[in-house]
Amino acid sequence: MNNAFLSIILHAHLPYVHHPEHDRFFEENWLFEVITECYLPLLRVFDRLHQERVNFRLTLSLSPTLIIMLDDSLLQSRYLRHLHTLLALSEQEIARTKHQPATQKLARLYRRFYQNALRDYQERYQGDLLTAFGRHHQLGHLDLITTAATHGFLPLLNRSETAVHNQIKVGLDTFRGRFGFYPHGFWLPECGYYPGVEAHLANFGINHFFVDSHGLMDASQAPRNGVYAPLDCGNGVLAFARDPHSSKQVWSAQEGYPGDFDYREYYRDIGFDLDLDDLAPYVLNGETRSNTGIKYHRVTGANGDKALYQPQQALAKARLHAQDFVEKRRQQTAALAADMDRPPIVVAPYDAELFGHWWFEGPYWLEQVLRLADHPGDPLKTWTCGDYLKQISHHQTATPSASSWGEHGYCDYWLNASNDWVYPLLFKAEAEMEKLATDLRGLAVTPLQQRALSQAARSLLLAQASDWPFILKSGTHVEYATKRLLDHLARFNYLHDAIRKNRINERYLMALEIIDDVFPDLDFRDYDPGKALMGT
């Protein structure tokens, strides 16, 4: 019987949010929410599957900024504080809902959910989620990969090839610094591909990356096997494309599983439902409403009143959806195999944060999918794209089309009237950093100068994150994104001036090193285009 492969890729990324200059900072909750709702549940899924000897393989992309934040002791301690706050809130909710038994039952579930998170984070994983993910890599379940240093959107940074080179290099070095090896796969931020980026990837030993469907379908040669086999870009680096069918079943707002009426409603949170007096200790400044994570309702319908969440009903639906997903993949790959000269591989990439954070039942759905796909005698198996390349050689050669997985499929979301002003500033800073490195070619610098130069490069990388133009376009947290962008560029300008004028204030430099505590191994000399583009 011919084999067929399902390759699920979870891409986990958050922008670097780290504010030691404040006692607490609202946007740090982004990390805390996904640890509780996504990363811990996913780890428990992998642990259970391993204990029950389920054969499963999938790819997990961990962005460098996320790696750094998960390892940061300040954020780790603040996460514990966050969990204790949620536990107190759930206790308060249990008391408040004493005359509403159905709601109180949910409040108790939330208390247990947070107790489990606290126990697992502290005791089971010892505050070290990366090692826990790494263990599943060693066990052969996860193929860990990474992405660009700060998730820079490479098709718009490639005005400077040095900028692209350093986004990739620093990202890979950060990953290696934490996990001890370089990955073979690479996640292009936002699946943003431009012809030529594969040359940079090849320099670092990367042998595959991912594009959206049209990246392959609109390639320089028609792909003989559609999106169900990779294309060799001509230099031994292969592009795998997202399968639109399996993605649509999960991503689509209209037709996707997460919109089912039985699932928990993300947009109905007690942070917006309760009296502010009840919430004061748990919301920003005691007066700004925000999501708390405690949500009592299910999607119910597109409009109208929301019914109470029924957890068992939701899990039953997730099982059905998992069966539907796997069955559709079996039918799909059976049809594909008849027309292909090689085993089809269905590539299904998702944002990891969809699972548990946006789609509360997502981790349970994924667990069921992985269980169902481990069926003796079934030709469909979960595999990674790296596995595929070890088994299948000789691929069609063609250049994929410029593409991304964002709105309209190209650069539109990251380049429009809301965020175009960003790019002249980024390009100017990049040019100045490259000029500094070039001017210092062959010259010794003092340790203090070295620190200032490296910190300038860190500021530049943090300014280049794709998250800031994304947020400027999406319209939420615009003020924060604007401030972060301008702050990083201001820090770059300050350090650039200090270096050029030979006036480095160590105290100020140390302050910036503490605040932007990223990429410890970064070498500013990599910004010398003469060095960067000579290869690695």
Binding site: N225, Y423, D439, P447, D467, N493, I504, E506
Partner: protein
Amino acid sequence: MMNSDLKKPVDAAGTHPILASDSAQTRPAGAAGFFSATELKQISERLRRDYAPVFRQKKPVVCDPATLSASELLEISTWVSRTHRPALNSAKDLLLLLPVAPGRAYVYWNSPGIKPTAAGPNDCDRSLWLTFYLKAFGQPVADTGTKPMLHLALNHRAGPRQTIAWPENQEQVTCVAVLGQQHPDKPFVVLAQSNVVHLTNPVRLSTQPRPSALLSSGQFSASGQG
């Protein structure tokens, strides 16, 4: 050119405005017995730290957060942000050309001298034009008398930006854009010139028959988090 001082040892205290009150900057030197034993030790340690022979260090100095309080960090970051904020309106004319998709380019300009006012038909400012020239490697731009590929009047309603649909007969080109003013009976005045960019058009593949299972069902967007 790089400041040649960069090769010299650096005074860590420096003469930064915020350190103007640092007594080390004003104290007269030379008198024996002027320094206490503690001061001499501090100076000695600083000299050792800052002026020891340079060995290339891979790892940066580990920062001890305890050395600076949260309020000091906030004070410093606020000062840096206030005093070194990037200028959003460049004093120099700027024209940026970026590929936004196959077949489409994005032009953004920031030119202090440009004030579109004279709206013509279809909201176009008939005095401001974007002109695109093919760029051969090493060839100077816009002074060759080359016939432009595209010559477009600006739509002033969109602000300092325009998305350009690329002529379909050009599969891929390397080009530059020029922003300029064109008044009747006067020569074209160049205000700003863009970067060089490589633009492509969508691939027009022959529609060879393929099994329906292999066909994509169309593009939709993903990415919830950015």
